[in-house]
Amino acid sequence: MTNYEFHCKTKLILSYKYWRSKAYLKGREKSLDRYCQNANVFLRMKKYTTLIKAFWQRALHYRFTVFAYRVGEVAEVLILILMWTTIYAGQSSIKGFTLQEMITYILIGNVFNGIVRNWLSGMVASDINEGRLSMFLVKPMSYLSYVCTKEIGRITLPVLMSVLSQILVILCFSNTFIWNLDWGYVLVISAMIGLAFISELLLSYLVGLVAFWTDEVDGLYTTMERIKKFFSGGYFPLTLLPAVFVQISFFLPFAYSFFIPAQIYLKKMDLSVGVYGLGVQVVWIAILYGVIRIVWRRGLRRYEATGI
């Protein structure tokens, strides 16, 4: 590039910049406003990403425990497969489920369930009982968003490892496993799992809030987990039971983390029913959020910030 060319180019760039800035000042106030708003949203988002990153770091600290849990999970899935294989001996199908479908149900359902899970209740309950909640109440960020963001950061690594190990198991059974990667199904199932994650998070939070009234929530939590596991189809597909159970489970939030997405995956349930289910999930999220707001407000009035 000659000196002259350089000179011309610089001038061009400068005049372009000048023109742009003028245009900005003249007619672009609106877009500038929008830009500021976006920046604001970005800043607000930053608080969440920072929290998530911090808890990722912390999760790495517990990598051994995270790994140890996965061993048990995989073992449970294998035991279930062993059990059903034994039960099926000689029969080609039970209540419309072939063995191949049953194994797929167990494998894919556990992947879904692995993504949806959280351990928020205990954390919320101990924050309340040990008075740690006080340290959050004085901060300009709501406890709900703090603790949910923290939980997302906390479980990312376990969930990733869980899904990875389940996929490894699926690969081991790749001859039996039924693959369904139709994009329509993938889309609906993904949305369902996303919503199920949110409703499970809110439900756990709500159970944790009961600690405002009782000293421990372990009993309630365990009972809840068992009922949830049953209605989610985690023990066995609900279609094995009278039809009324499937109908009930459709209007409860639990089945959306296992049974319903697994049924859709197996094409045993129509996509349209799945879309309808998404609506049910949204309603549940709204209900849970509403109840949480009421319970939180009442609970805080009772909160005694004990501990010290």
Partner: protein, 327 residues
């Protein structure tokens, strides 16, 4: 101008009584007698801008409860509190960005992570700009000299180091009002002294209004000009620390040392009440006004006096005296 206004504030806690033994437990499973305990009763005070006030009182006196109400953690049962014109229990973000609370026995730092991570989280939560954050952090880290362990997991720090980090985390957003609940509890004397020095400098430089509770007299004596003594939920004294001493310290202590073989107890009994005695040294308690004349009398007597020092009755004794009155 007063920053903190507390009017007729009360707080009651509910609790239950359980009869002893398994029978009592079973009974209380079905029916529990509900009782009300009042942590604070009808207290009022006001605190001006830049004041550093000490809350003093025995365990369970209501100091922490008051601080918790002022920071919006607890709802008052009756009466009202305003801080910077806000009602704390509404927990408005604009108020929350202007004050800070540090409790000696509760931490806000995330364990298993270096303190720096918690600082960064606070930066985002309080919406502190990058440049402001860096400036404040550098300043605080310099004041405390904690630069070397900011990147070590909080779990591995000593109690003193951790408390310093807690204070830094609490001050990053430059609060106008700062509540400290037992910040020196469990610390060794050196760490206690560090924290006291820091608070003193911080209060002088930033004119931050500070309320401090502590059981350690040394904290209060060094830092606070004004003390509010709370006992059994009511204010037993509110005023200058000097006045407290004048009002309640009625005695002086004369410590006399003797040379040679020393003396006998009966030789000095006539000078005043003997607190402590050995042949070569003794402590005599006299009224404040008599202290000088007693010293003169000792010096002019035939006793082998080597040295006399006149001291105050300790503040601890005074406080114990006041606490005792309420019971």
């Amino acid at each position: 101008m007063s920053i903190i206004e507390v009017k007729n504030l009360s707080k009651n806690y509910e609790y239950y009584r359980k009869e002893k033994g398994i029978k009592g437990s079973l009974k209380s499973f079905f029916y529990r007698e509900k009782l009300l305990a009042s942590a604070i009763k009808d207290i009022s005070f006001s605190i001006g801008e830049g004041e550093l006030v000490g809350f003093l009182g025995p365990n369970g006196a209501g100091k922490t409860t008051t601080l918790k109400i002022l920071s919006g953690i607890l709802y008052p049962s009756a009466g009202e509190a305003t801080v910077l014109g806000f009602t704390p229990s509404r927990r408005e973000a604009t108020y929350q960005k202007q004050f800070s609370l540090v409790m000696g026995q509760k931490n806000q730092l995330i364990s298993n992570l270096p303190a720096m991570e918690s600082f960064i989280i606070n930066k985002e939560i309080y919406g502190i700009s990058d440049s402001e954050f860096k400036k404040t952090l550098d300043e605080l880290v310099g004041l405390f000299n904690i630069g070397s362990f900011l990147d070590i997991s909080v779990k591995k720090l000593s109690l003193g180091q951790r408390m310093k980090c807690e204070l830094v985390a609490a001050l990053l957003h430059k609060p106008k009002v700062f509540f400290l609940d037992e910040p020196t509890i469990g610390l060794d004397v050196v760490a206690q002294k560090n924290i006291r020095d820091f608070l003193k400098t911080y209060n002088e430089e930033k004119k931050t209004t500070i309320i401090l509770t502590s059981h350690y007299m040394e904290d209060i004596r060094e830092l606070c000009q004004r003390v509010i003594i709370i006992n059994l939920g009511v204010i037993a004294y509110d005023g200058r620390l000097d006045d407290l001493i004048k009002q309640y310290v009625r005695h002086k202590l004369l410590t006399v040392t003797f040379s040679g073989k020393g003396i006998l107890r009966r030789d000095i009994e006539k000078f005043g009440e003997i607190e402590d005695f050995s042949a070569n040294s003794c402590t005599i308690k006299t009224s404040r006004s008599d202290a000088k004349s007693v010293a003169v009398a000792l010096l002019s007597s035939s006793l082998p006096v080597d040295d006399i020092t006149i001291g105050e009755e300790s503040l601890d004794d005074v406080i114990r005296h006041i606490f005792g009155e309420g019971r």
